[in-house]
Symmetry: C2
Subunit: 325 residues, 2 copies
């Protein structure tokens, strides 16, 4: 399977690493909007200009698009799906139906196969919500995120006057998690589910009280949460907060039995040292499925819900049944 | 979707309950090898003789076969797959490839669709082993079962002279579980993974020391485990051990990054008040997929690995993308 990477940030580097771990993949190149000679890849993967991507039509089995969901992917994925099988990690949940529609139209009319919104949420967490709700229809599910770095919330703090750098961790509220794990099915407010921990480097002479006030009252991002703000030095930021861990849990509790007398709890959890590398690893596994589906003449836009799990594995059906079932 | 149940024990009753929770299913009947007039169903589902099953050809969309793996399913599933779409929970892992082959031949030649080895292990645990290993190829996975009742081990104790009743619980070794959850990847012996707790009702005057010795030294079942034996009264057995809980966890830890410097842990866990009712709930969800695949002209034997998750849900693709992705 010949893969290529479109966009070379944390996620693109993760895909480059993941491709090394899969012996059935070959990495054709990295496509960048920067000057290719300014981009140094981790494993000496060749770097090309994004402008030259069409020269590679027919030479790439699946193009993994590693752009941002806010402005990159809504344009890139439908455009590139006209000429390539593509996989993206579009994660703006509310806009998925629209993104799906545009990518589906592009892929269908060009006999390509596309997968959008792959990763862990959307992605593996979505799959677990679906499996659990299909098996236990009389139930309720919960998704908790963290402990992990939220890039969007970190960026929001960095835009405040007097802030040099910031890192925000999303943390599930421990007591709530315990209650849900025990099979309780409470109605929860935003505040009852997650805490937001902020680590901030302030400029010399900046008004820390004002920065704290601005963070804690920021609508959507922080106002509805219990938020802690801790000021640290630039050295502490580099030493203690340079990694991008994340994770979380999806829990569903459902009743079974003639009178719903039995309670059953399904929990899926992730503890990731590297959020982008895990997402990248999922993209590569699902790229395998997209390539196979395209070879079978299955075109259009797909999501993780449409992929038969066997297609993710390099093993044959016989091998899977003998070793994993 | 018109379902029927073939075999009416704990699992069959569980399917009858699960069918009530799914508004798109209609339960045509229960087929039994016993005298139908001796069988009383939970929801007044009609009971028919297994001998009359062929009278219902064309009237059942999916037949859920609720027999035992040791002797029932190897015969029943291939035979019934000649005339019906079928789902079973065949769980003798080592014999799955052979069972698959027989059922596949029967289903292919008769344009039916069959699913074998559905439930939680094999079933949801298998799916999680597959997903996790496809995403994190450079890793190691572990499956722990329990705390829960093992019917096979309970039966083995009941066959010992002087034993009136017995219940065996399989319990993961807590320290091992903790180590694996922390991302350690030890090589484990059988003894390091699970403990076997046995509760035994002995006949009056029976030699308890001899019963204990026979249990603890029983090859395959107990000899390789740390086993505890507790003698209890028949009343205690009825009061404290009448339920059939089970569960367990599948954990995979894998490395990502340019030098494998990041560790990522995926955990899937089940806590089930009722093992047969949860298995039955999975059978009904997967029956929905088998029915849809048959309608699309996809024939032959499938496993959970071959089922696109979207086919398990009564929701449409649009609804799934809008609400669960």
């Amino acid at each position: 399977m010949k893969l290529a990477i479109y966009g070379y940030g944390n996620l693109g580097r993760g895909v480059e690493c993941a491709a090394q771990q899969n012996s059935d993949t070959e990495l054709i190149g990295v496509f960048t909007r920067r000057n290719p000679s300014d981009v140094k890849t981790l494993f000496n993967t060749p770097v090309y200009s994004a402008d030259d991507i069409l020269d590679f039509k027919g030479k790439i089995d699946v193009l993994i698009i590693c752009g941002g969901s806010a402005t990159d992917l809504p344009k890139m994925t439908p455009a590139l799906a006209c000429d390539f099988n593509v996989v993206d990690s579009f994660d703006t949940h509310a806009k998925i139906p629209q993104h799906f529609e545009f990518v589906d139209a592009a892929a269908y009319s060009n006999d390509t196969t596309a997968l959008i919104s792959c990763g862990w949420d959307p992605g593996m967490f979505s799959l677990n919500r679906l499996y659990a709700s299909a098996i236990l229809p009389d139930g309720k599910d919960y998704t908790f995120w963290g402990r992990g770095v939220s890039q969007g919330h970190s960026d929001a703090i960095r835009r405040i006057d007097g802030v040099i750098d910031a890192r925000q961790y999303t943390v599930p509220v421990e007591e709530t998690l315990k209650a849900v794990r025990k099979g309780e099915t409470p109605e929860l407010t935003t505040r009852q589910k997650h805490i937001r921990e902020c680590y901030v480097v302030a400029a010399e002479g900046a008004d820390k009280e004002e920065i704290t006030r601005q963070i804690k009252t920021m609508p959507n991002y922080f106002a509805d949460y219990d938020t802690t703000v801790t000021f640290i030095s630039l050295e502490e930021m580099k030493r203690d907060h340079s990694e991008i861990p994340h994770g979380g849990v999806v829990i569903r509790t459902g009743k079974t039995g003639a009178c719903g007398e039995h309670s059953n709890t399904i929990e899926y959890s992730l503890k990731l040292d590297s959020n982008p590398e895990f997402t990248a690893s999922a993209l590569v596994a699902f790229a395998r499925a997209i390539y196979r589906m395209n070879e079978r003449g299955i075109y259009g836009c797909k999501t993780v819900f449409d992929i038969a799990p066997a297609d993710l594995s390099p093993l044959s059906g016989d091998e899977l049944r003998a070793t994993m079932l």
